[in-house]
């Protein structure tokens, strides 16, 4: 394989005295969807924030196409081609849908290209077009998530970071959003790094996955292999063998094999 589009090497990130990520490495290749799984507090969001410069790492490198981008300002990183769709959507509530999308393209000056991409966003999310004059704060959770993804796409990034797009959405809506994510990846050749708690859907749409626990990587591999792993099944997919009594409470020891 050629050089990865995004490479994170031995990243350590602190919140004050607390080491939130203790030496994490990860690769994302052009055209891939890569999923990062992990429980609350595992350091997934911190990892994305470190990639975009919202947090500075105290150690390690972030390489975008071979160029070091760690510890730079987030807007500089965004110009380099990384768009971040944050956890909890974070749309601008007092701006309209159209204005929110325009914010996504803040660093572009090809008006024709921006118009074309706006068309694409509206094609993927027809609802947004219907509501384009509405204030974003009035949108439902699912609509806001669509808007946030659309806003990220408007930057025409080389890499889109998605932080828990399934958060707080109904199962049907999760299905719908992930279908669109998958289509964006295939049809628009968008490379995506996806952080998720919903391991099942994340592993279905992604080609490769990583598992994080307490700030470190414990497992990685092709997504279909991860779906087969006993530990993933028990601890992330909630599929466990109920044992002889039909109600097993004890947990197996994680081995990450």
């Amino acid at each position: 394989m050629n050089r990865p589009l995004l490479q994170m090497l031995n990243i350590e990130t602190y919140y004050g005295p607390i080491m939130a990520i203790r030496g994490v490495s990860l690769d994302v290749y052009e055209g891939e969807i890569v999923a990062v799984l992990g429980a609350n507090g595992a350091g997934k969001t911190t990892l994305l924030k470190t990639a975009t410069g919202a947090l500075d790492s105290s150690k390690g490198q972030v390489l975008l196409d071979g160029e070091e981008i760690q510890c730079r300002d987030p807007d500089w990183v965004a110009r380099k081609g990384i768009a971040h769709v944050p956890e909890g959507r974070e749309v601008f509530p007092f701006l309209s849908v159209a204005e929110n999308l325009a914010m996504g393209a803040f660093n572009r000056n090809d008006a024709d290209g921006v118009a074309a991409d706006l068309r694409i966003v509206y094609d993927y999310f027809p609802l947004l077009e219907e509501m384009r004059e509405k204030m974003a704060g009035y949108l439902s959770g699912g609509q806001q998530q669509m808007l946030a993804i659309g806003r990220g796409f408007m930057a025409r990034p080389r890499l889109l970071l998605l932080d828990e797009p399934s958060l707080g959405l109904s199962p049907a809506l999760v299905q719908e959003i992930f279908e669109i994510i998958s289509r964006l990846n295939q049809e628009q050749e968008l490379t995506i790094l996806l952080v998720e708690q919903n391991a099942n859907i994340a592993l279905q749409v992604s080609q490769r996955g990583y598992v994080m626990e307490v700030g470190g990587m414990v497992m990685d591999g092709p997504s279909d292999k991860l779906l087969e792993s006993e530990d993933i099944k028990e601890f992330y997919l909630g599929k466990k063998d109920e044992g002889v009594r039909g109600r097993r409470r004890w947990k197996k020891r994680k081995t990450w094999r």
Binding site: E12, L26, R248, R249
Partner: protein, 607 residues
């Protein structure tokens, strides 16, 4: 052949000794265990009363003299209460490792023909339930911890609380029955079945009598320096001879207070918290202490490192004099005192070894370099040697440092070297044979002498040194005899290597399978910016292979060419106690490993 009785304080059984000593000690603290994070104490009176409740409870469900009762649990207070309770009721205890998989549990229960089973919790209970139909001999199962089982009903299974109730009710009607049973006991009665880890084939159950156990307790406090004032940490499986001896039998006889580690994962924290005064540890734990200090020092400030280096130089000089048996000058005493106060005491405090007046190592060979380092920082470690069949029969003596030997044998025991180099030994209190295996017993015990399966030498002072296991000796294709454990121990002394198995029988050269020390190698990778994700990818990194290669090269330098390891491979699966590759004391099983990793091995010999 009749054997002499071993009698302590007028008691010829452990049960009699227990009743007598617990009466004497009354409300002194016998054991502590954490409950929701808070240490709870139990006195010797509690110990006796709980054991009596279990004893009467077992009598009420029909336990007869000589019946086998199995305990399948991590170390906890109920383990010891049940251990003695069974004994008081006239039964025999068979400890089952909680890490055993169901088939191993089945073997342990069937082979011992156990009638009753005590399990720790629902996890252990599930193992029984899975194979219940194959175990018709089990009449009742008692569960220490009923959490997660509310609403569960099964004709054979009940909580230990239920057994206590049964015991209280039965005792009200039959008080004194236990005393009669105990009074009828003799030196020849079995106390326990100890299954040995069995690196080849199924584990064998060694039959241990009161004579065996009482003889072992006579070794303290003179040779095994555990006394009533000691605090000890219980963390190895109680099914293993060493922990049973240090945490069950010796404290019953001599009165030390035991403290249960919260779990196998928290041993290091618990040690630090308790700072026990008497420490027994397996070499793997001593190695871990050393590698933690080495890693911490590599990260220390310049001043800290300098201070450590200087102190270590002073410590090493003192250690060399002690080893040579030369007296220390006043200035040497003074400088060591200074080094101890400024540096070593802090190290020992962090490790939880600052109060230890006595430390010992056993159950596996330990590297002399490691013992010398501990002596340098002011902690003299005694090396003990024995095996389940014999008990502990040799130990290095206080103040005498003969690293590489396990010291002379104790009074009441004999050691000699057979013509083929094998160590044969006997003891007043040796085992009574393997259960159900008269042929294997006859192979092991010849004319009262036990063939240990170890090869070794005796020096002119009577110090025994262990070369290796007889069956582990490698004969290379060139006809050269190699004892792999010497080099394996030197490899394990590296902070980056957790365990190593040397291979080369009938081969042209020696190779090695290495298990890395996860913590230290990850730390190395992180500080040297070596990217990795999981354990497997860590083992595959060329920088890590290079690191281990440099360690192997360094160790190789101390050996002649034919004894050197020419190639090695890393075991890239993180092994846990549940895996059959490891013994319960976390040693790699040579035969198992060389079979399981044939792919890696043939790869080393293919080119």
């Amino acid at each position: 052949m009749s054997k002499p009785d071993v009698i302590i304080d007028g008691c010829d059984t452990l049960a009699k000794l227990f009743l007598k000593k617990t009466q004497e000690r009354g409300d002194r603290i016998a054991m502590r265990e954490k409950d929701f994070g808070i240490w709870q104490s139990y006195t010797w009176n509690d110990y006796r009363e709980q054991a009596l409740r279990i004893a009467y409870g077992l009598l009420s469900v029909g336990l007869r003299r000589g019946d086998v009762v199995s305990i399948q649990s991590e170390d906890c207070r109920e383990w010891l209460w049940t251990d003695v309770g069974v004994l008081l009721a006239g039964g025999v205890v068979n400890g089952i490792y909680p890490t055993y998989q169901v088939r191993q549990v089945e073997h342990a229960l069937t082979d011992s023909n156990a009638r009753f089973l005590f399990v720790e919790d629902e996890e252990q209970l599930d193992k029984f339930l899975e194979i219940e139909s194959d175990l018709p001999a089990i009449e009742k199962v008692f569960v220490f911890d009923w959490r997660g089982l509310r609403g569960f009903e099964h004709a054979k299974v009940e909580s230990i609380d239920k057994l206590y109730e049964r015991g209280d009710a039965y005792r009200a009607e039959h008080d004194g029955q236990v005393d009669q049973i105990v009074a009828a006991g003799s030196n020849d009665d079995l106390v326990a079945l100890l299954y040995t880890s069995g690196t080849t084939g199924m584990p064998k159950g060694s039959m241990l009598t009161n004579r065996y156990v009482l003889f072992q307790t006579t070794l303290a406090p003179e040779y095994i320096r555990q006394t009533a004032d000691d605090e000890i940490l219980t963390y190895l499986p109680l099914c293993h001879l060493a922990e049973r001896m240090f945490s069950a039998w010796l404290p019953i006889a001599h009165g030390a207070t035991i403290n249960f580690a919260e779990s196998p994962e928290t041993v290091m924290q618990n040690l630090q918290e308790l700072s026990p005064t008497y420490v027994f540890a397996v070499p793997r734990v001593w190695e871990k202490f050393y590698s933690r200090v080495t890693t911490a020092m590599s990260e220390a400030t310049w001043l800290g490192r300098k201070a450590y280096d200087l102190a270590l130089r002073v410590g090493n000089r003192r250690a060399d004099k002690l080893i040579a048996g030369e007296p220390l000058s006043a200035s040497e005493r003074f400088t060591f005192g200074l080094a101890d106060r400024l540096v070593f005491r802090n190290i020992k405090k962090v490790l939880g070894l600052d109060r230890a007046h006595s430390a010992c190592s056993g159950a596996a060979p330990i590297s002399p370099s490691l013992l010398r380092w501990f002596l340098a920082i002011g902690l003299a470690i005694d090396e003990l040697w024995g095996q389940t069949e014999l008990g502990i029969i040799t130990s290095t003596r206080a103040g005498v440092f003969r690293f590489g030997t396990v010291g002379p044998c104790f009074p009441g025991t004999d050691v000699r070297i057979d013509d083929n180099g094998e160590i044969v030994a006997r003891s007043v209190g040796q085992f009574e044979g393997y259960l159900n295996l008269p042929d294997k017993t006859a192979d092991t015990v010849v004319d009262g002498w036990i063939h240990t399966g170890d090869v070794g030498e005796l020096d002119e002072e009577g110090n025994l040194s262990i070369t290796d296991r007889l069956k582990d000796i490698i004969i290379t294709a060139g006809g050269k005899n190699i004892t792999p454990s010497v080099m394996e121990n030197e490899l394990k002394f590296s902070p980056f290597i957790s365990d190593a198995v040397i291979i080369g029988d009938q081969r042209k050269f020696l190779t090695c399978l290495i298990m890395i020390d996860q913590e230290n190698v990850e730390h190395y990778a992180q500080t040297h910016s070596v990217p990795f994700t999981d354990y497997r990818s860590l083992c595959a990194r060329p920088e890590i292979i290079e690191l281990i290669d440099s360690e192997v090269t360094r160790v190789n330098a101390g050996f002649s060419s034919v004894e050197q390891v020419k190639k090695f491979r890393l075991i890239d699966i993180l092994l846990t106690a549940e895996d059959e590759e490891l013994t319960p004391t976390m040693k790699l099983k040579r035969s198992f490993v060389s079979e399981k990793y044939t792919g890696l091995i043939s790869d080393m010999y293919s080119r």
